[in-house]
């Protein structure tokens, strides 16, 4: 039972990472603060990190 719950929570974390990737993607294209070009780059690689986790690469 605990193992099952652990497994569910484990997958929930991947879903959470995926959700944050979506939030990040939305902010990359439209955001209130730090609108500069430099932060477009920062957003891009942070999104990449979340995606690598979501697809189970790292």
């Amino acid at each position: 039972m605990l193992v099952l719950m652990d497994t569910i929570i484990h997958y929930f974390y991947f879903v959470m990472a995926g959700f944050f990737a979506i939030l990040l993607l939305k902010n990359l294209f439209k955001r209130e603060r730090r609108k500069g070009l430099v932060y477009d780059i920062v957003y891009s690689y942070v999104i990449m990190v979340f995606i690598l986790r979501v697809i189970g690469i790292k």
């Binding site: 652990d6 929570i9 990472a17 944050f20 990040l24 500069g36 920062v42």
Partner: protein, 433 residues
């Protein structure tokens, strides 16, 4: 190897300075520095090392995000304003009591989780706005919040630096409670006095403040104000004290649950668009921190690969004892600024072994170091807690002026830590529980 590594280190420092100045983004500067370091170090374009490093503090980033989402949703329900209103009403004329209570409030989340940033995320906004209304200057508010965030991180039961050093040195994390709490109380009192005795010329009268504060939304009550925090506290306590009866939740999920509970307290609880909007805004707000923890990992990974990390560590630990004491207040905080909790493992553990080998009490030594490391949370390159404080307080001056604002209590804490480091055997009576 010394010369070569020193050259790489210098080039990396120069790159970081130049990039920070030109690009105005410490996050990307760290990544650029990492890339330059790898190129100079002969690693080519370090795609694997770069990305691998970015995962080092991935979980920390998740904690930042979820904690902020929780607290922003909580604020959105109006509960935060109601709480501030109540505190001002009750404590307007009892400044000292209020400062003590705010201090304790600040310490709890960090003490339970080991992260000062969590304290700021969870109660920092509340404390800042109460203090603002009470007329304290932004400088004092910033100092108060930053200091208590550090103390929260150091405070038992969870002191991550001590735990990491203990883990690396194969010593049990036992006997730290009193030896941490006594200095914490001293530093906390100093900070409270430092804050409380400052002038508050622009302090408005009570009625004025209450009229400025937005009225709580209809239906707001104590149950709604308390429940989300109560859930947080309960989840954290059962994770610690009933760990074998529940699955591992992790802090991110804990905060998500609390966020959900908060949202359920709202009248328009199923307004998904509203909550989504809050989360998008939260992401915008905490993005610099998230980006910092992601980027600093990449930098640390390259510092390690090129041997720069090793150079820093070997330089510090092979200093004569006297110089270790003299430079501890420099090395330890800067290591924290660059390596975050890695500082404990890289500088802390060798110091533990070194001190042990000359018969000094290692528990006091580890405790002492755990007072010195957090001082670096306001220092570059990462300066995570420092920036978080600036954001939370809404501090408007330059970052340098923020550092000046926190300098006095910062130095006081450093002095206490240093004294503990110098006299561990005289303080070993504190290692009781």
């Amino acid at each position: 190897m010394y010369l070569q590594t020193t050259i790489i280190a210098i080039i990396m420092v120069a790159t970081f300075a130049l990039a920070s100045w030109k690009l105005k983004s410490p996050e990307i500067s760290m990544v650029i520095t990492a890339i330059v370091g790898a190129l100079v170090g002969g690693f080519g374009f370090p795609s694997r090392l770069l990305v691998e490093g970015m995962f080092t503090y991935f979980d920390v980033g998740m904690i930042f995000l979820t904690a902020s989402i929780f607290i922003n949703i909580y604020s959105e329900t109006g509960a935060m304003n109601a709480l501030v209103r109540w505190i001002v009403k009750q404590f307007y004329d009892r400044k000292w009591l209020m400062l003590i209570l705010l201090g304790i409030l600040m310490i709890i989340p960090g003490a339970l989780t080991g992260a000062g940033s969590v304290s700021i995320f969870v109660v920092g906004g509340l404390v800042a706005s109460v203090m603002n209304y009470m007329g304290f200057t932004k400088r004092r508010v910033a100092a108060f919040i930053y200091l208590f965030a550090m103390l929260a991180a150091v405070s038992p039961p969870i002191n991550l630096w001590a735990m990491l050093m203990a883990a690396q040195a194969n010593m049990p994390y036992v006997g730290f409670n009193v030896v941490l709490l006594v200095p914490i109380v001293i530093i906390a009192l100093f900070t409270i006095i430092y804050t409380g005795t400052s002038k508050t010329p622009e302090r408005k009268n009570k009625e004025h403040i209450l009229s400025e504060l937005p009225l709580p939304p209809e239906g707001m009550n104590w149950f709604k104000i308390i429940t989300p925090f109560a859930v947080l506290l309960v989840l954290i306590l059962i994770s610690k004290f009933a760990a074998f009866s529940i699955p591992v939740l992790g802090l991110p999920l804990t905060f998500v649950i609390c966020a959900f509970v908060s949202a359920m307290m709202d009248r328009k609880r199923w307004d998904v668009r509203k909550w989504f909007g809050v989360m998008v805004k939260t992401m915008d707000q905490v993005f610099p921190l998230l980006a910092t923890v992601i980027s600093v990992g990449a930098l640390v990974n390259i510092m390690t690969a090129t041997g720069v990390r090793g150079l820093l560590a070997i330089t510090f630990i092979t200093l004569p004892m006297v110089l270790i004491y003299i430079t501890a207040l420099l090395f330890a905080p800067f290591a924290q600024g660059a390596l975050s909790y890695g500082s404990a493992i890289i500088l802390g553990t060798p110091i533990i072994f070194l001190f042990n080998s000359i018969g000094l009490n290692v528990t006091v030594t580890a405790a002492a170091l755990s007072f010195l490391f957090p001082l670096g949370d306001c220092l570059p390159p990462s300066r995570i807690v420092g920036r978080l404080t600036v954001e939370t307080v809404g501090y408007e001056g330059s970052y340098m002026s923020f550092l000046k604002a926190i300098a006095i209590p910062w130095l006081f804490m450093g002095a206490i830590g240093l004294l503990m480091l110098i006299f561990p055997n005289q303080l070993d009576f504190l290692v009781v529980y």
